[in-house]
């Protein structure tokens, strides 16, 4: 039976706008590294030939990251809720699948950073009593996230369990 059992992807994709959000995020991250390098290059460019090489390398890797990561993530990030559990998959190069039973859910929060607000997105965090078991559903459509929180809150209240 080896190799025959595997996790199926959760049912729902995240919002397509999440690609833009991740791209913006990645662009900001790369810019945070690249801009000081470019400034350094302008200030003492001639004296530091290796700096040009480092800058070019960062630019190439950064561009690749900005282009590839969001699309890859969009294919991986998925979520699903059933009557009994919440199921998510996240990541890109490294991937992670998380399951938390409804009976063990403690809190359901939404969170919207400035970038997410710009793209009309929200992140739903589902925490359990475990310090390491929180599920994060990132890049959901804002309205959908609100509905989801309401539904999860309702379901967890209706499901008996002491959460530990």
């Amino acid at each position: 039976m080896r190799g025959s059992l595997r996790l199926r992807p959760p049912r729902h994709l995240v919002s397509r706008r999440a690609i833009m959000w991740w791209t913006a995020q990645a662009a900001l991250e790369v810019a945070a590294v690249l801009i000081p390098l470019v400034v350094g290059l302008i200030v003492w460019g001639g004296a530091r030939p290796w700096l040009a090489g480092v800058t070019a390398a960062v630019a190439v890797v950064g561009l690749g990251y900005v282009l590839v990561m969001p699309r890859w993530r969009f294919r991986v990030h998925r979520w699903e809720t059933t009557d009994d559990a919440v199921y998510t998959s996240t990541g890109w190069i490294s991937q992670e699948w998380r399951v938390a039973p409804m009976s063990r859910i403690q809190t359901v929060d939404t969170e919207r950073g400035p970038l997410q607000q710009l793209f009309g997105l929200a992140t739903v965090t589902v925490t359990t009593a475990s310090a390491a078991g929180a599920l994060r559903l990132t890049g959901l459509d804002r309205a959908l996230a609100e509905d989801l929180v309401e539904q999860l809150t309702y379901t967890t209240q209706a499901t008996p369990g002491d959460a530990t």
């Binding site: 039976m1 059992l5 199926r8 699903e80 490294s94 390491a132 078991g133």
Partner: protein
């Protein structure tokens, strides 16, 4: 007490003996300096003495103020504490949230018959102390009374307490065997001892040299030949480590007793100068952990820790510790006794992990060393540095082999057992009913190798326990068997290579 609420108990002050204890403990901190001043007899001028007197006065006044402004009471519903004059703080813990009552008494406290009582809810929000309440200090009898009262209520309050059989009398699960003293030098406490002595010595030198030059001792020291210093160092460090670790062991574990009390509490009592009593509710125990750090393992020793909810953090600041460093067999026996199992799940035969896991560990051991060596080869440093780096290879490879040998997992009727660790071998037996979720993770290289790491999340202990580098199918099967129905709905069997599922990726 007012007429409106006749049953509300009165606010109580802390024990008045604290008025003496607080200044004395403050003074104890200055003992080394005082000793040095007395021995060398530095002639202080009048102003210095005045400042000293003022300092003592401030400490005493602060103690009086603290005593006057601190009050606590235990009602039927809550434990409340009010303190502070300018910054008033009021803390209140609902009694049904109380998970632990720890009693400690340092030497000065014991001299006055006092104990510090720490009442905790077991919730551990980062940086938030409101889930804990410390009464520093009450009389020892009051502390013991409070401990019993607050914990007994817990056991009585729990109607669905069915998992563990509750004995009617206290049973002793473990006591100290002085032959275990041989493990003391094999623990970190030997390093702690060396560090403490070095620190104290450094501080003393610093303080003393401010006062006087100690009759030119420093000059003599700096004139001694190098080989003498090295030899002295080589002899002194092991001796300090040996003696220090033994002393630390004796102080920490003197009179150690692990007792199962009626009402479903495990109680650990220990300590020579500072006595500690830690109570652990049995219904909060989700498993046990047997830890074998490299040196201790070489000496065939191990430590046993409870995996319990509400201890705060991975090892709950040592509150989960059930046993001093002890022989491996004893560690497993106590682990079993705590779980009320005849045969400890931690000593079960474990399933080995795929050989690919060994390859992963070897790659991780070899590649960084080779890369480091290559960088040094290119860098403007002598060539021997690059060669010397390669000398690390045997060490890292041995650690990799050890890490692979330590990988294993097993599933028994009630426990998920997993073991891992390079150097420090960590064996955890987690109650299957304590698993509150699964995380399956796969790095890029794990995906290529067809492996996964399956993590059981739990409210207890570190919150997550890992089964590292197993075949994807095996790992998922273990998770599904351990908690039937949780992961199952999200699993799929491939039939003839084609996945039968509604949404197939890619």
């Amino acid at each position: 007490m007012t007429e409106a609420a006749p049953r509300e108990p009165e606010w109580q002050r802390l024990d008045p003996r604290m008025l003496a204890v607080t200044p004395l403990r403050q003074l104890a901190g200055f003992l080394p300096v005082i000793a040095v001043v007395l021995v060398i007899g530095v002639g202080q001028d009048l102003r210095g003495r005045l400042y000293g007197l003022l300092g003592v006065l401030v400490v005493v006044l602060a103690g009086v103020l603290r005593w006057l402004t601190t009050r606590y009471r235990i009602t039927n519903e809550r434990v409340e504490l009010r303190s502070g004059l300018l910054f008033r703080s009021a803390r209140s813990i609902p009694r049904d949230r109380i998970r632990s009552v720890d009693v400690t008494a340092g030497p000065v406290h014991r001299l006055f018959g006092l104990s510090v009582c720490k009442i905790g809810t077991g919730e551990h929000t980062e940086g938030d102390e409101s889930h804990e309440l410390t009464l520093d200090a009450v009389s020892a009898t009051e502390a013991d009374h409070m401990r019993q009262r607050l914990l007994e209520r817990l056991a009585a309050d729990d109607p669905n307490h069915s998992g563990v059989s509750v004995p009617s009398t206290a049973t002793e699960l473990a006591t100290l065997n002085w032959s275990w003293l041989r493990f003391a030098p094999l623990t970190v406490s030997s390093l702690v001892a060396v560090g403490a002595v070095a620190g104290a010595f450094g501080q003393l030198i610093g303080e003393v040299s401010d006062v006087a030059d100690l009759g030119g001792v420093r000059e003599k020291l700096s004139m001694a030949p190098l080989w003498l210093s090295v030899a002295a160092f080589a002899v002194l460090v092991p001796v300090i480590a040996l003696v220090g670790s033994v002393l630390i062991f004796v102080e920490a574990w003197w009179g150690f007793r692990l007792v199962r009390e009626p009402g479903g509490t495990l109680r650990i009592r220990r300590g020579l100068f500072t006595t500690r009593s830690v109570s652990l509710e049995e219904r909060r125990v989700r498993g046990v952990e047997v830890v074998e750090p490299l040196l201790l393992r070489a000496g065939r020793g191990a430590r046993t820790t409870a995996v319990a909810t509400g201890l705060g953090g991975r090892h709950g600041h040592g509150r989960g510790t059930l046993l001093p460093p002890a022989p491996r067999g004893e560690a497993h026996r106590v682990a079993g006794a705590v779980l009320t199992e005849d045969f400890s799940p931690t000593s079960a035969t474990l399933r080995r992990h795929p050989l690919v896991a060994l390859r992963r560990r070897l790659v991780r051991a070899v590649l960084p060393v080779l890369a480091g060596s290559a960088v040094l080869w290119l860098a403007p440093v002598p060539a021997w540095a690059a060669w010397a780096t390669l000398g690390l290879l045997p060490v890292t490879v041995l650690l990799a082999l050890d890490a692979y040998r330590n990988l294993g997992h097993a599933l028994s009727s009630r426990y998920l057992v997993t073991r891992h660790g390079a150097g420090v071998r960590d064996t955890v037996a987690l109650q299957r009913s304590g698993v509150i979720g699964w995380t399956v993770s796969q790095s890029f290289f794990q995906r290529r190798a067809g492996l996964v790491t399956v993590t059981a999340t739990t409210a207890a202990g570190g919150g997550a326990y890992h089964v590292i580098d197993v075949w994807t199918a095996d790992g998922l099967a273990v998770a599904e068997q351990a908690v039937p129905g949780l992961l199952g709905p999200f699993l799929q069997h491939d039939v003839g290579g084609a996945a039968h599922t509604l949404s197939s990726r890619l």
